[in-house]
Symmetry: none
Subunit: 233 residues, 4 copies
DNA sequence: GCCTAACCGAGACGGTACGTCCGGTCTTTTT
DNA sequence: AAAAAGACCGGACGTACCGTCTCGGTTAGGC
């Protein structure tokens, strides 16, 4: 179904790397007459890891290129050879951080949309590391500032969550749980929107209670379902 | 009811003005023993207007204090005498931009929640100037970067919209349109959340169609209402 | 006679300072409608002193702008506001170091050219500080590298020594010690040339013995005089 | 007599070439147990020619190793395999430029010191290319900066000219033209000193008139001779 | 003829200095 | 005493260069 097999190893911004394969298939042995020392691809992840560490520690504005270079034991030129600016380095680093690509083959199937949605809550709340959240705070300012980079961020960060909701809702339609003409495109946006809003604008934690309330009070009604146990506040 | 009579003339951040009391000893209970040239209050709005212009044109990061001072034909010291930092200047400028303080006395009353919500749409879609939207993009990066200032921004920018929704929903409860135990605190957040998300993360315009879809497909179901004309996508 | 009262306080390179007096004499009280904070002229000497210190300690190449700024407790911008590059800062600093402007009114008059020349030797050999010599080593490389700046260096460093020799030789002509048609312009160059050559190319010290040998074996013969005590090597 | 047969083919700085002895243990007195591809000696001159070209064009400081490598169509490692630093490459290149090793067997003998000196003028004034002079300007900065390398430069550039003058003056003593106890060591330095000074400090051309004036007004008097045709300026 | 080691061009690497820019403060003269 | 103007300190940015290292490919010996 939804393919979405984005190779996180490839630089997300499409920076000019030497390994551009000409996107050709019929001319195999032409490739490239490469000369010179090849880029040490292992440095990419070292640098991006360093960037993420510092991003989580001090935030985007207090983060310095020299800091990143020093922690990665790299020269500044090595960074600027890969990314044209501090901004793009951060975007790329955050993009590659999303190693948790959704494995649609092993998604839970609880038999009900509510069960499915609640089953997917844990990976978002019981976050494996606090870092991810802190990093996210930094990247948002970039979206607002660099609209031209929003596509990348959107594709890597935003879309998967919406796609996941759509996947569950389509399955609910297939099993006859909800009507086929439900506006699932709007419904699938409710949870990501409210979670983001709570994080960025309200500066409040996204805990289990909040997520359940969103599901029961907003998402399920939007698809024509009533919560099994009505929530009252 | 909801008071919220924020005097937009007073600086929203409560920046230290020269009118700090207790600067005198011999005249204890006097109003102000002020001497010397008084602060030219007309410069405040000139400066904030210049700040908003530039904020909309180049964004927060590329905006410099010198730019603002130059456009307002002011000295940098004049700015820093009023606001302690670039951040607070911008916050204040954005806050004062919200001259559309909600006048709860003259709100429309269409008789139905859907009618009320749609009636309030226009001021948000038919924006008098594109500037407002652009400025909003800039202010978000501030929230992400300066969590300590989020309170101010939240209070000035975020809360009013939620409060307005709550006002309409409470009225709907009073008139018996929706159940009294509806989770209106969650429902009132749906529209602001999805609007913000669409603007910041999806970088898409908030037009009339989108707002109506949000109301019919998400907000009204959340309060237990069905749209008069079911929306199908 | 030769006036040459170069005001060493004026920047030697003629950098654009605000104190350009319009070179007018008839319009005295017009001056300039100056506004804004004036340049702190005391920083000039602080910075140049720091530059000379470091120049003497580590040499031109190992000297960095940040070093100078740090020692002078100045920001880099303060340096670059005054001098467009490291090179010009050094040239200016060295130029202003020549506080030993020749006082032609109080020059010794021993009665003979040889006596005059030897009398002027001491200030060059018994240098008040070793620093000056070290600094001179650095400045020479600049002449070779920045021919466009050679004029300044020449005027400040080179010319005075030649002029001094010419002054003594003209006096010797007036007193009838040497012939009026002597090629004193060539003769006046002998000593500066050989001293410079010995310092730069031969890397040998310019001590008293050397200077006397130059005077007796080269300069005096060139003006048709024999040394009182013939020098034999 | 003065031997001075410096083999300009051998690297003047004695840079560590691959022919380092004692790399073998079992074959003690063997020449070299070398294996592998031998160094392509033809690249040496290509590289040095490129270095001299660029040195003459932009000067030592603006010359970069990459420039030299690119012009010589060589890799940077090829340069650094031969010379340990930019400095030594330049010194070596300049040293090898002095292919005009003095052939003492075929020196002119005009019968008079003045004739000899003037006869040797041409190769210095009618320089086959302007390049040589420009290169000399660049090398001077090296002397000032790298005193430890001054020996090399001095030996290759400076000494020959002085030695040549000494050779002529000794011959003049032998033929009885000048006194045996003349201070020829000082006299032999006059011409090189004044030529260098005129070039570096005065930035003026060393033309035929200047050289003749130096010989007649300074050198010949220093050795006790009067110019055949007295020069008056 | 094949192996091996050292060469070659090309260019990425770590490090460091440069010159620019900006935020927030301070110092003038003028109002 | 506030205003306009602009110099001040500190520090990050992005560029450029040096000297080293690492590729794939080439070119001599020695077997």
């Amino acid at each position: 179904m939804t393919q979405l097999d984005l190779d996180t190893r490839e630089t997300a911004t499409g920076a000019p790397r030497a390994s551009d394969p000409e996107s050709s298939a019929t001319v195999p042995a032409e490739t490239a007459p490469r000369v010179g020392r090849p880029m040490d691809l292992t440095r990419d992840s070292d640098i991006m890891d360093a960037a993420l560490d510092i991003l989580a520690e001090v935030g985007y504005d207090k983060m310095t290129i020299d800091m990143v270079a020093a922690r990665a034991k790299a020269g500044k030129a090595t960074l600027y050879r890969r990314w044209p600016s501090k901004t793009e380095l951060v975007v790329d680093a955050v993009a590659c951080m999303k190693n948790s690509v959704i494995d649609y083959a092993n998604l839970p199937d609880t038999g009900s949309l509510r069960g499915d949605l609640i089953a997917m809550m844990k990976p978002m709340t019981i976050r494996e590391n606090e870092k991810k959240l802190k990093v996210m705070s930094g990247i948002v300012s970039l979206i607002a500032r660099n609209p031209e980079l929003a596509d990348v961020v959107r594709q890597v960060i935003v879309t998967p969550r919406v796609e996941l909701n759509l996947f569950f809702m389509r399955r609910a339609i297939e099993r006859g749980e909800i009507a086929a003409d439900t506006d699932i495109h709007t419904a699938a946006l409710i949870s990501p929107s409210m979670t983001t809003y709570r994080t960025l604008m309200l500066q409040m934690p996204v805990d289990r209670d909040f997520l359940i309330r969103v599901i029961d009070s907003a998402v399920l009604p939007a698809v024509g379902l009533q919560p099994e146990v009505p929530v009252r506040v």
